[in-house]
Amino acid sequence: MRGTVRLSSATAVAVACVIAAGCGGGGSKSSSSGASGTPASGTGSINVAIVDNPQMKDIAALTPSLFTAKTGIKVNYTVLDEGTLRQVTTRDVAAGGRQFDVAMIGPFEAPQFGQQGTLVDLTPKATSDAAYKFDDIIPAVRNALSAGGKMYAAPFYGESSFLMYRKDVLKKAGITMPDHPTWAQVAAAARKVNSPSMAGICLRGKPGWGDLGASFTTVLNTFGGTWWSAKPDGSIDKAMVTQPAFKQALQFYVNLVKDAGEKDAANSSFNECLSQYKDGKVAMWYDATVAAGLLEASDSPVKGKNGYAAAPIDKTKNAGWLWSWALAIPKTTTKQDLAWKYISFATGPQYLKEAGSRIPGGWAALPPGTRQSTYEIPQYKSAAKSFAKETLDAISSAPITNPGTTKRPGLPGVQYVGVPEFQDVGNQCTQQFSAVMAGRAAIDAALKNCQGVASQATQG
């Protein structure tokens, strides 16, 4: 008996420990820095957290030859997927960790963190650095990363959303896609070309505020709905999820996916849609402009078969989103000057000129959408001619300050609401909506749950 008693209390303690380890606490789970094994050498090295998209991997590979060789500054990269990067940067920047000298964030975070006073204002550094050509940055992107006239992150890459479609498939069905289609036109076209072997349209359905949340919110905006109403001072007033416009937008989105959408929509986001579109399993696709570069790549089976139209609209004039991956300097770093030198290199015009001939994807794979001068480089113009203009138009016309029909709370934003609460509300609600799409939840129940979550945010 004695043996078992000891065993039982030991097991209970073990259980307690294992499970307690799962709760967040203030634990500092350090993520390893991948690129370099050598220890940091005093002032000559910086730690940089970046997202794992192809353009960032390119620059990580080129940094030793194009940057470190000239400046002697060593760059230790930590490459993370979008979700993890967001967890790490939020902890590091917002909660005052000291892991990184440069962190990659987007227009959702940059103005918020900037206003909270956790990021270095880059404007003085950028305007005094002649080689950086501050005025060359596309204004829409720069504004999205600024608050109160101060730029808190330097754009590395910019994107909007638009409609991509198979010209051959639509032509066969006798459909002409206008340059600025409405959602009604797109839905009709999708239902017409939909067949068992090829779905009409690919729309994101995977839960997450940056996945389904992004696509759906652009539809919600143009249908006249909103997540929250705004008080005159710009703070959150009331949750508007159970309002008719919200339901109408969700119903439209879900019905379109159910009638003419891709297979397993509730599990699909950018990558799933990309592979289905390339496999010829969908005829249209509404997503990020950056996809065009991949569809027109030399190894793409659908190269040259695609048309591009502006983001579909309903009640507003423009509906495309605006996103940028951008580099910011947390105030906690002691190496601001080195950090700026790196940012100036990574997001400056010189890198774009030097990288084109060195990266595996060629000129078409340059980080798009940050600088007007990119679109004047002759090699880029010819490599990206089928989508460069559409991308630039989409970015400059993204309705960031006035995305819908009513005033929005918080900072500017199209596919998100510029308040800190949105990522949590967006994540929880898109899980509900995704379940509706999969056919295992009713739309009214999902909206009611979501309204409850969104209402909690109004309580401050």
Partner: protein, 311 residues
């Protein structure tokens, strides 16, 4: 059965240990203290911190000063629909996989208990699922088995003329249960096999001589012999499966019907909720539930083991 009374008898008949003086006993314990101290620092301090956090309204986004809120996180817990959903899902994702794996594992163990050509190879192959990383298992099942376009199951359905089913998004709970059963069957099988092989052969022979049918031998002798092993399997399986995380993260990324409590804790903390206070209170509830389960199960188990010894 008088199992319940037996431990008391054993306790009274236990030989008395000669008393050791207090100073002597502490001198003996001294070398163990550093290890104990490290263990306490590494395991119990984080736990106590979690308890403390669970009594505050600490959230990181938007950053606000941390306030002491007492038991508010706990009293609000049961009004939270998402928490209730997660609790129900946790029960489903624990009970069904444990029982499913136990039944299948027992079946495989019975088959493996017989001598046949290639037994060693078959046994190794059957153990393999348990050796795979949970993340890999989740990915394999999601993309190669369940997938609507590329999955084997839907290829089969398609070939037979049926309509493809989006298993993971349409039936997330069942999909994850299937994967967990697949992965945990070998574990149960090994425990059952150990049980079967420890069965005294003379008893079985005697039963045969007495003219018992194979089914009667299984029901009356083997099954009752296996009972403590089943209890052990259920106990260990429950302790592990109550904290499943990887398969959920890879297969569905959460959502109604697949977010269990550990995943919910993640979602409410660094997974986007950033409410460390609230998330800590959830995790404390899971810890308490696990300790209760473990204690109850161990009581039952120790009683049975004792009964086995005397028999």
């Amino acid at each position: 059965m008088s199992t319940a009374t037996r431990p008391r008898i054993t306790r009274s008949t236990r030989p008395t240990v000669p008393r050791i003086p207090l100073s002597e006993s502490w001198r003996r314990r001294l070398p163990l203290l550093p290890a104990l101290l490290i263990m306490i620092v590494l395991t119990q301090v984080p736990f106590v911190m979690s308890v403390y956090y669970s009594l505050t309204d600490w959230r990181v986004v938007p950053p606000e000063p941390r306030n002491w809120v007492g038991l508010q996180n706990y009293t609000r817990l049961f009004d939270n629909e998402f928490f209730k959903d997660a609790a129900v899902t946790t029960i489903q994702l624990t009970v069904f996989p444990v029982l499913g794996a136990l039944v299948l594992g027992a079946g495989f163990a019975l088959l493996l208990d017989r001598r046949f050509f290639g037994q060693g190879l078959v046994r190794t192959l059957l153990i393999t699922p348990f050796l795979l990383m949970p993340v890999v298992v989740g990915l394999i099942w999601k993309n190669q088995m369940f997938h609507g376009l590329y999955g084997v199951l839907n290829w089969g359905i398609d070939t037979l003329g049926g309509t493809p089913v989006d298993f993971v998004s349409r039936y997330p709970t069942i999909s994850i249960i299937v994967v967990l059963i697949w992965q945990w069957t070998p574990f149960m099988m090994l425990i059952m096999l150990a049980g079967l092989q420890s069965q005294p052969s003379d008893v079985l022979e005697a039963a045969k001589v007495d003219g018992a049918t194979p089914f009667a031998i299984f029901r009356q002798l083997t099954l009752s012999h296996l009972r403590p092993y089943m209890e052990l399997g259920i106990l260990l399986g429950t302790i592990y499966l109550i904290q499943v995380y990887d398969q959920i993260a890879v297969m569905t990324g959460g959502g109604p019907g697949s977010t269990n409590l550990p995943y919910f804790v993640f979602q409410r903390s660094i997974g986007g909720g950033w409410e460390f206070g609230q998330a800590s209170s959830f995790s404390i509830v899971v810890v308490i539930a696990s300790i209760v389960i473990a204690t109850v199960a161990l009581r039952v188990l120790s009683g049975l083991l004792k009964g086995e010894e005397i028999a």
